[in-house]
């Protein structure tokens, strides 16, 4: 009886372990998080921050980007997003579907605006 209980307990652990997911964490971790982040330092206090989501809503992906930014920089930081997309994934012979949401941008810790190497008077964007 005791042996059966132990076996069932172990099996339960294995099953639960297999299903283990975390909501938020690094993309390089052992468990793939629903909202995974990855940052690449560029200079002191500056990063390229990427969040990849396995599901969820666009708002939550933005929230998670800010969450990681706060963890890296504290309350004050400047963000310049440059990529918000769902790259196409292929299936079957010719099928395609939107992939996971990816949000990426430059993160500059501190209150002051990010100092760009060169600033140009780019024409106003459409829709602005």
């Amino acid at each position: 009886m005791r042996a059966n209980f132990s076996a069932a307990f172990c099996l339960g652990l294995i099953v639960l372990g297999g299903c283990q997911t975390i909501e938020y964490g690094p993309l390089s971790g052992e468990i793939t998080p629903i909202y995974g982040y990855q940052e690449t330092p560029t200079r002191e206090g500056e990063y390229i921050l990427l969040v990849r989501a396995l599901g969820g809503t666009p708002e939550t992906v933005h929230f998670m980007w800010d969450r990681r930014a706060q963890e890296l920089c504290g309350a004050e930081y400047q963000k310049t997003l440059y990529r918000a997309e769902r790259p196409t994934t292929s299936y079957g012979y010719y099928g395609g579907a939107p992939g996971n949401m990816v949000l990426e941008g430059f993160l500059h810790c501190g209150a002051a605006a990010a100092e760009a190497p060169a600033t140009a008077a780019t024409p106003a964007p459409a829709g602005s």
């Binding site: 690449t40 560029t42 390229i48 666009p58 992906v61 933005h62 310049t80 997003l81 440059y82 990529r83 918000a84 997309e85 769902r86 196409t88 292929s90 299936y91 079957g92 012979y93 010719y94 099928g95 395609g96 579907a97 939107p98 949401m101 990816v102 949000l103 941008g105 430059f106 990010a114 760009a116 190497p117 060169a118 600033t119 140009a120 008077a121 780019t122 024409p123 106003a124 964007p125 459409a126 829709g127 602005s128």
Partner: protein, 381 residues
């Protein structure tokens, strides 16, 4: 018993065949830059115009397990599922082509490139543009020596909330040969032994249009627009039992629900791009071409060798948040990307794109004339 050595040998061969990742970009060397000096730029005439992307559905895998009958059923299902999005994408491309035809894209690109030609008396160093022309690659597909060739593509996203331009640039010389700047563990791969001296890609993403919210009025307009898109050439709706009739019924049913799909959003946003004679789209196209022209000249004069493990470099930040960066990592390392600030929604570009009827006819004509000239050349020889 003989299987094991075969497997070992096989895995060794596969191991040897692994290609080391390198960036797609081919930068010029300092010597090449000095040697090239003044150069002609030729824009490849764009024949496709602004394309409208969409997602193509494939359920053949599900039907395959039921044999021929399953394949037939899923084939019909796919045709019905894909009919609506494909039709609407083509309709969007048609609407765009009326106001912004492919010729307008070509003129705009040429104008932007001409803007980079220095004054006749200007003192220049390195590479500068001295002439801008256009070529029709469908008739003369071979690369032209000693000319910087620029080919472009323009796509509206699945929901038409964003526009993307990609410019591929290459330069091949009659005097200079390409020597790969990339390091390989073993021998240099064949693909790196020949080909153009310079290649790079420039991608421009437009600002995102706000996504409309679903209202009763929007639903009515959506249904009307779907019905419009299914009208035959005589203006009559399709027969209810025809494939188009079934697809129309399915789409109208979907339009009445409480969800606004990306495909449905595109119907409205395409028109936003085209308001006021297509002013918004034309402005973004001009911005895209200015970006290519400016950074192309800069990049031609750069001998920096990118790495697949590098870091993105911010080159420019505009007051509206738009950035221009040099991609730092992966196969796109060294390419240039101009992206808007204030990104909110997540853009999708589908796996298929529709072109306008006008563009399709032009391509058909060019293709026919190419076949004709090829066969007459063969006859002569």
């Amino acid at each position: 018993m003989k299987l094991l050595p075969a497997l070992v040998l096989g895995s060794l061969v596969i191991g040897c065949a692994t290609v080391e990742p390198i960036p797609n970009k081919r930068p010029l060397t300092t010597e090449s830059i000095q040697s090239i000096g003044k150069v002609k730029v030729a824009a490849s005439e764009n024949n496709r115009g602004v394309e409208k992307s969409w997602f193509m559905t494939d359920s053949s895998a599900a039907g395959a397990q039921y044999g021929l009958l399953g394949a037939l059923v899923t084939g019909v299902m796919d045709a019905i599922m894909n009919a609506g999005p494909s039709k609407r994408a083509q309709q969007a491309a048609n609407e765009i082509a009326e106001l912004v035809p492919a010729d307008a894209l070509n003129v705009s690109l040429i104008t932007a490139l001409q803007g980079q030609v220095p004054a006749a008396d200007a003192v220049t160093t390195g590479i500068s543009i001295n002439e801008v022309g256009m070529s029709q690659k469908m008739l003369a597909p071979k690369p032209v020596n000693d000319v910087v060739e620029v080919s472009t593509s323009y796509t509206l996203s699945e929901d038409a909330s964003a526009f993307r331009m990609i410019a591929n640039v290459s330069y091949q010389s009659s005097k200079l040969t390409y020597a790969t700047p990339y390091k390989f563990k073993g021998s240099v791969p064949k693909g790196q032994l020949t080909g153009p001296l310079y290649t790079n890609t420039f991608t421009y993403q437009s600002a995102q249009l706000p996504i409309p919210t679903l209202t009763a009025d929007l639903k009515t307009r959506l249904a009307a627009s779907i019905q419009d898109s299914y009208k035959t050439e005589t203006g009559a709706p399709p027969a209810p039992d025809s494939q188009d009739g079934k697809a129309l019924a399915k789409e109208l049913e979907a339009a009445r629900d409480e969800k606004l799909t990306k495909d449905e959003i595109a119907i409205f946003l395409t028109r936003n791009w085209l308001n006021d004679g297509g002013a918004l789209l034309k402005r973004e196209i001009e911005n895209a071409h200015s970006f290519v022209a400016k950074f192309l000249v800069q990049d031609l004069n750069s001998s920096a060798v990118p790495s697949v493990t590098g870091k993105d470099e911010l080159l420019e930040t505009a007051s509206n948040g738009r950035t221009v960066r040099r991609v730092g990592a992966g196969p796109e390392a060294g390419s240039y990307a101009s992206a808007p600030g204030n990104l909110t929604s997540f853009t999708t570009y589908g796996n298929a794109s529709a072109i306008s009827k006008v563009s399709a006819e032009k391509i058909q004509k060019l293709s026919a004339s190419r076949t004709k000239s090829t066969s007459s050349k063969k006859k002569k020889t």
